[in-house]
């Protein structure tokens, strides 16, 4: 492996991409610290304690809940054979097709006082007791957990599937119980997958805007959006963003560190994976019931409601003719952003995994920052930058796509990096020793090996862009409303029926991508 690095053209490319992606952070930092800092102490006294507590407790709560849900479902599905398994296998990925704000708006309807859930509860118990309001920590926890546990499920499932059974057998042969084996061998072995999925989940929760604002739960990102849209100074928003990004950086380094601690290569070419054990009828039923409850809450009920509302809207003639345009806008923006992201992400991921110099690692880390730079702030920074310096491009989809790149490249990068790490560097070295140049090695050896991982990355980014809200709201050119924007405009008026058709469309459009995603055997770490 080459350790000392001269500044190659590839390096330069990587640096310029990283600069492009981190610019908004610099901008935000700059505007946070220039100007009147009396705002800072004011913020500290009034808003910060609440925001910090809320954000951290939500991230922590959702992490624990998604880990429990994701790992248990993945474990059962990879280890047991039962009736309905084939359906649940991909069924648990479907919730990814529902944007967080759609799930949130469905849940404000379901959990509202006097809503269906409360009525059922009161009917069952015969009491007048109220259920917790959806406009609370509980509401946000439920919605965010149901919305993000598939990430954990996907990665844990892939890890369990690629898991070399020999380790477990060795453990049991030396006298460990099944629980000990699970706890001390299986879990540590899938730790890279768990850490990677936690990373995704926490960043998703922390940067989410749509769900928390519909549920009126004050997190950093929501507060920042309120500062931008409701006030005439951006400094407070910038200060809040700077804090949020600092937290995220700490988190980022922690994740890196974990991953370094736990890098495994398969030692031989052959891996023996587990075959699912068949289980009794009773156990099969219990599993199905458990899965049915989770699935209904995360996907079944919301989609049935959306269909019902859509039918009502159609019957009342409230669905306009502009839907074709919204669909086109959404698909076009997301596909373009995902494609460009793939092109920009490849050099970054490649450099960091093959030539891990300080510079290259820094470039990669830099690219990750965008994920926690809240959508609204990145959007605002771009708005100012482009109106000031590159007016020609202002008001075009270019700016919006750049915002998508900054915000969602990290999600794909995670998968791309993992895919690249799975490729044993010895293979590439062998090709180079045989005289192949860098690009040729990449095209002929590396790329075919990571193609699946990269496709998964593309799909993930496509999906996330389809659901993107705050940057689209702030940066969309006139007449360029996406499905997500339409849902938002109607849902924030609580016009359930009117918001339903575009919401259902986003779900339907996302399902093929989600389906392919569930077919991929994508691995982390």
């Amino acid at each position: 492996m080459v350790r000392h690095i001269q500044l190659t053209p590839l390096s330069l490319l990587g640096v310029s991409i990283a600069l492009l992606l981190t610019f908004p952070l610099f901008y935000v930092a700059f505007s946070a610290v220039t100007g009147d800092l009396s705002q800072a102490s004011n913020l500290w006294n009034t808003r910060l304690p609440e925001l910090i507590t809320n954000t951290i407790s939500l991230a922590l709560g959702v992490s624990i809940a998604t880990l429990t849900l994701g790992v248990s479902t993945a474990w059962i599905i990879t280890r047991y054979q039962f009736w309905g398994r084939a359906f649940w296998d991909w069924g648990f990925v479907l919730p990814l097709a529902i944007p967080s704000f759609v799930l949130a708006y469905v849940y404000t309807f379901l959990l509202d006082r006097g809503g269906p859930v409360e009525q059922t509860w009161q009917w069952l118990t015969g009491s007048d007791a109220h259920i917790p309001s959806p406009y609370s920590f509980t509401g946000a926890l439920v919605v965010m957990t149901l919305n993000t546990f598939p990430y954990v499920y996907l990665l844990a499932r892939a890890a369990f599937q690629n898991f070399n059974l020999s380790f477990e057998e060795a453990s049991q042969a030396t006298g460990a119980t099944r629980w000990e084996t699970f706890y001390r061998v299986s879990l540590p072995l899938i730790r890279p997958a768990l850490v990677a999925s936690m990373f995704l989940v926490v960043l998703y929760v922390v940067s989410d805007f749509g769900a928390v604002s519909l549920l009126r739960f004050q997190t950093f990102t929501y507060a920042i959006y309120q500062q931008i849209t409701g006030r005439f100074d951006y400094q407070s928003a910038a200060l809040l963003s700077l804090l949020l990004v600092s937290f995220a950086l700490v988190f980022l380094f922690a994740e890196r560190w974990f991953r370094k601690q736990s890098r495994f290569y398969q030692t031989s070419g052959r891996v023996r994976t587990a075959t699912p054990k068949s289980c009794s009828l009773a156990r099969g039923l219990a599993i199905n019931l458990f899965f049915f409850v989770i699935f209904s809450a995360a996907f079944g009920v919301p989609v049935i409601l959306l269909i019902q509302w859509t039918l009502t809207a159609l019957a009342e003639g409230e669905v306009g003719t502009s839907f074709g345009t919204y669909i086109g806008n959404s698909v076009f923006l997301s596909a373009t952003a995902a494609t460009v992201a793939l092109a920009l992400g490849t050099p970054l991921a490649y450099l960091a995994s093959r030539f891990p110099s300080k510079l290259h690692i820094a470039c990669l880390q830099g690219a990750y920052i965008g994920y926690v730079l809240p959508g609204p702030v990145a959007a605002l920074a771009l708005l100012m930058l482009f109106t000031d310096m590159i007016p020609l491009l202002y008001g075009t989809v270019f700016v919006l796509i750049l915002a998508y790149l900054i915000h969602y490249l990290p999600a794909g990068l995670q998968a791309m990096e993992s895919a690249l790490q799975q490729v044993n560097p010895n293979l590439e070295e062998a090709a180079r020793n045989l005289g192949a140049k860098g690009i040729r090695t990449f095209r002929q050896i590396t790329f075919p090996l990571v193609r699946k991982g990269f496709s998964a990355a593309w799909l993930l980014m496509f999906l996330l862009c389809m659901k993107e809200l705050p940057a689209t709201l702030l940066l969309r050119p006139i007449g360029f409303d996406t499905l997500a924007v339409r849902i938002w405009l109607e849902a924030s008026e609580e016009l359930y029926q009117l918001a339903a058709p575009p919401a259902l469309l986003i779900v339907i459009l996302s399902i093929p991508a989600v389906f392919l995603l569930s077919k991929k055997n994508w691995q982390a770490g």
Partner: protein, 354 residues
């Protein structure tokens, strides 16, 4: 399922040859830039609107149909759009700026983002206190910030003033808008202007404690909460009450116009309005749109669809709402709203309203 096929196709292209699809995407990108609407169409108006789309779209659609001028609408928050106009400066594609309250318009004017509307109709159609001194913005429709109460649980004669709602006896019975609501900011500004800082503070503190968790992002939700009996009273714009009653005439809700005593501040009247942007590139169709909105036809649409008060005295309010002559509105000029915006936001934030 051609879309599914399309996606699979795209994935296939991507996984085979990223370069090809990148070129493809950029091709599409430049194509879409060329075809983007603001570069074409001579007779078109770009509207930035801070009003709920369903309240303004029917009126704009009517204008589009009768004149043939295309209207392009961008809906967002009023304050957010001022920020956008400020960032866009001379390059803004917006021709007119519609908001749900006067404060944002006055702010845009003070930032030199608007220009005087030189239409002879303006002086005749709109009373002076409903427009900027230089006619940079004009009110289109009036909305009163009133109390909505549940007729089953509240005796209306027990409330004389909006400020009464701050009394501890309303604890747990009141619903209010969120801290970033422009209506709350405008309403509190009016209290501040009429009664001074101490009263305004006490009022905000009182309604904060009384409302607790009953804080809503939308007026509609507050009216709904009162109708369902979740709370007894709420503070909203008047037309949300009448719109609810139009749908459900049996709902146990009614508006309460307060502060009518001789030394009272009067009911809080604000306007939704329109401004002409300083950098409009479509001056004549923009003025045509404004002229339509203040004409009797446009004003009647506001009165009918939205149950708002037409600003044009020649047009009557919807028969369902109390006639404008039946109450006394606050005399504080709407331009004060912009001056008080920052102080009131600070106050709201310092007091920790949600």
């Amino acid at each position: 399922m051609s879309i599914m096929k399309m996606i699979i196709q795209i994935v296939r292209i991507v996984s085979i040859q990223p370069l090809v699809s990148m070129l493809l995407a950029f091709g599409l990108l430049s194509f879409s830039d060329l075809s983007s609407p603001e570069l074409s169409a001579a007779e078109s108006v770009v509207v930035y609107s801070g009003r709920a789309e369903r309240l303004i779209k029917p009126v704009l659609d009517h204008f589009e149909q009768t004149t043939g001028t295309t209207v392009q609408l961008l809906t967002a928050g009023s304050t957010e759009l001022v920020n956008r106009l400020r960032a866009e400066k001379a390059r803004t594609p917006a021709d007119v700026f519609i908001t749900n309250e006067a404060g944002a318009l006055e702010l845009a004017r003070s930032l030199h983002l608007l220009q005087p509307i030189t239409l002879p109709e303006v002086a005749m159609a709109i009373p002076e206190h409903f427009r900027a001194p230089d006619n940079s913005w004009i009110g289109l429709s009036g909305r009163m910030w009133v109390i909505v109460y549940n007729t089953k649980t509240v005796d209306p004669s027990s409330i004389h003033s909006l400020l009464d709602l701050a009394a501890p006896s309303w604890k747990g019975k009141l619903a209010i808008p969120t801290a970033n609501s422009e209506y709350l900011q405008a309403g509190a500004s009016m209290v501040l202007a009429a009664k001074g800082e101490k009263t305004a503070k006490n009022f905000l503190e009182g309604i904060r404690d009384n409302a607790g968790n009953e804080v809503y992002g939308k007026n509609r939700q507050i009216v709904d909460a009162v109708a369902k009996g979740k709370v007894s009273v709420g503070i909203v714009n008047h037309y949300y009450i009448f719109r609810h009653l139009a749908k459900d005439p049996e709902a146990p809700i009614a508006p309460l116009i307060t502060d009518q005593d001789k030394d009272g501040m009067g009911s809080i009247m604000n306007v939704a309005g329109i401004g002409l942007t300083a950098h409009t590139k479509h001056l004549s169709p923009a003025k045509e749109l404004i002229a339509f909105l203040i004409s009797p036809t446009g004003q009647e649409m506001f009165a009918q669809i939205n149950k708002e008060y037409p600003v044009n005295p020649a047009v009557n309010a919807d028969p369902a709402v109390p006639p404008a002559s039946s109450f006394r509105a606050s005399t504080i000029p709407l331009t004060r709203l912009a001056e008080l915006r920052e102080p009131i936001i600070h106050m709201i934030q310092d007091l920790g309203l949600r």
